[in-house]
Symmetry: C2
Subunit: 331 residues, 2 copies
């Protein structure tokens, strides 16, 4: 619908230039950027927010400014995928050192806009502030969903499935931290993650998932969230975990690659549980539609906790192998 | 409705403790905190985001942690008031130095929760990240609104009105920056601003405002935004501007107090335009209902720009007298 003209001020000049490059607000957006709020209509609204901090979630040496915005937005949109919601739009808050305004901020927001438009949504608004500290990007994702898929509805006996391959983003981070350029496939997984919006909607329309989550904290961490929310446990079969090419190429052998795939965060693939046999019926059609694998990685159990089952049958608690802020384990 | 159990990890322990103190999700909240997204139903949704940066928007020496959260939330809810929307809830993102987790972060989010619950909404979710830099709070406000009031719909000949009194928050900031304790009334205006949610809804229900904005950048700045958005100008009568007690008590004479009231930001009062005579009809009922004044401060003109008219009739462009980030004029 409408976009609103802005008053005077340097901050508003930056916002104006960013909005000049955005598409005009579309159907379902009652008030676009520029007023005090954006207003969106139509059905229940799913909303989530995801903060990225320079030095914690990314480093400038690793990514172009546009990639910082793209990646942060994909991460936030992935939370919509985890509810099987379809993006309406995003709000982008940037806290930036003054020297980075306007060039870096504009490129960053352009990257965010590209990511949300690729997923069918719009740039709805945001905020911009100067700071003496690191660059910070907070992306709020808003989506429409009639029947939200939850993480709390898994049942014992369900199969556990994942989309795509895991560990690529973590492999890239590990290479950078070791002073090496990551393998191209790993870099791509980190810099341009693809939120599984359409895939989640497709699965939800067919009633396949019992419980659904996206893999942002690592398979071990997010399986733990899903299990805790559902009051169940999960056993992951080590030999079944689909390892990303970037992890295989970067790792010191298969067990190291597997660790990246299980503990590494920020893959933004989906993890879901389903009735035994139900996924096999739609697996071929899914893989043809999305050029992405569906892999059964484990089983939901009554006993709580998340365990890794090795091929010799031994079981090992995964603990919190995922990357964690506030525990010293930084990317 | 439901709240979702969280998995392992220090970050999640903090979130768990925060949520344990929140009210259970209410009517209209289909999915509360803890899943990948919150989901809210019912009518068009207004959404806005507002970032507060330590050292830019607040200092720790000035406010208790709970007040930092309260104030940031009130500022974001004020954007809902500016559309005449009613709060559904907030998302709270906190980026904090590790030493501040968990105590300061929990107190801050408690303050945010108190502010949103006082305004009839809920804590719907958020994010938490460690940082080597300053404390940062990003509050996303979501509200319901059937008929959003815009800033872009003022017409030449409209009267310009404001709620309450202006300049109190700016007076507090100026006192602190000068090394003095602010006057109690000024400190209260800064630390515990009251978003004019009910007042805006009351005015909107009676069809009073033609255009509406909240005063976050200062009367001069926000009148400028309203005028630019509407393609009109505004003349503010210097003698009519309602000066806050905290500004009068702190200022070096009446002209200095007036400057705080016109240029000082973060009052979170409302500024609106209306047909000549329309506000006089409801002024008494409004002031009785809300214990807050309604004051006519100026007139909408065809000529663009915002001007201050002194009592001797001389006119002066206000320029951008409001506080601005990125221009060196920090609170």
């Amino acid at each position: 619908m409408r976009r609103t003209a802005l008053g005077e001020g340097v901050e508003f000049d930056v916002i104006r230039r960013i909005l000049d490059r955005a598409r005009p607000p579309g159907r379902g957006v009652l008030v676009g950027p520029g007023d005090d709020c954006a207003v969106i209509g139509g059905g229940p609204i799913a909303v989530s927010t995801d903060v990225s901090v320079e030095g914690v979630h990314f480093r400038r040496e690793w990514l172009e400014p546009g990639e910082i915005g793209y990646r942060a937005t994909a991460a936030s949109l992935s939370d919509l995928a985890a509810m099987a919601a379809r993006p309406a739009g995003i709000l982008v808050s940037v806290v930036a050192p003054r020297d980075d305004v306007p060039e870096l901020v504009e490129a960053l927001v352009d990257g965010a806009r590209e990511a949300v438009e690729a997923a069918g949504g719009e740039l709805l608004g945001g905020d911009l502030a100067g700071s003496p500290g690191p660059l910070i990007v907070d992306i709020v994702a808003l989506g429409r969903v009639d029947w939200p898929m939850l993480r709390s509805t898994a049942g014992a006996g369900d199969e556990v499935w994942v989309t795509g391959r895991l560990g690529g983003a973590a492999a890239a981070v590990r290479s950078w931290l070791a002073g090496r350029e990551p393998h191209a496939a790993a870099r791509e997984a980190y810099a341009r993650p693809r939120p599984r919006i359409e895939e989640a909607a497709w699965l939800a329309e067919r009633g396949v998932p019992h419980a659904l989550i996206d893999i942002s904290d690592g398979l071990a961490g997010d399986a733990g969230h899903l299990a805790a929310a559902s009051g169940v446990g999960i056993v992951i079969d080590a030999g079944r975990v689909p390892v990303h090419e970037g992890a295989n190429r970067s790792a010191d052998g298969p067990e190291d690659a597997l660790r990246l795939a299980i503990a590494g965060g920020e893959d933004y693939e989906l993890c879901f549980t389903s009735s035994p046999g139900a996924v096999e019926e739609i697996k071929e059609a899914f893989e043809a539609a999305f050029d992405a694998t569906l892999t059964r990685v484990g089983t939901v159990t009554e006993r709580s906790g998340v365990f890794l089952r090795w091929e010799d049958g031994t079981m090992e608690p995964v603990g919190t192998m995922g990357f964690r802020h506030f525990t010293g384990a930084e990317p």
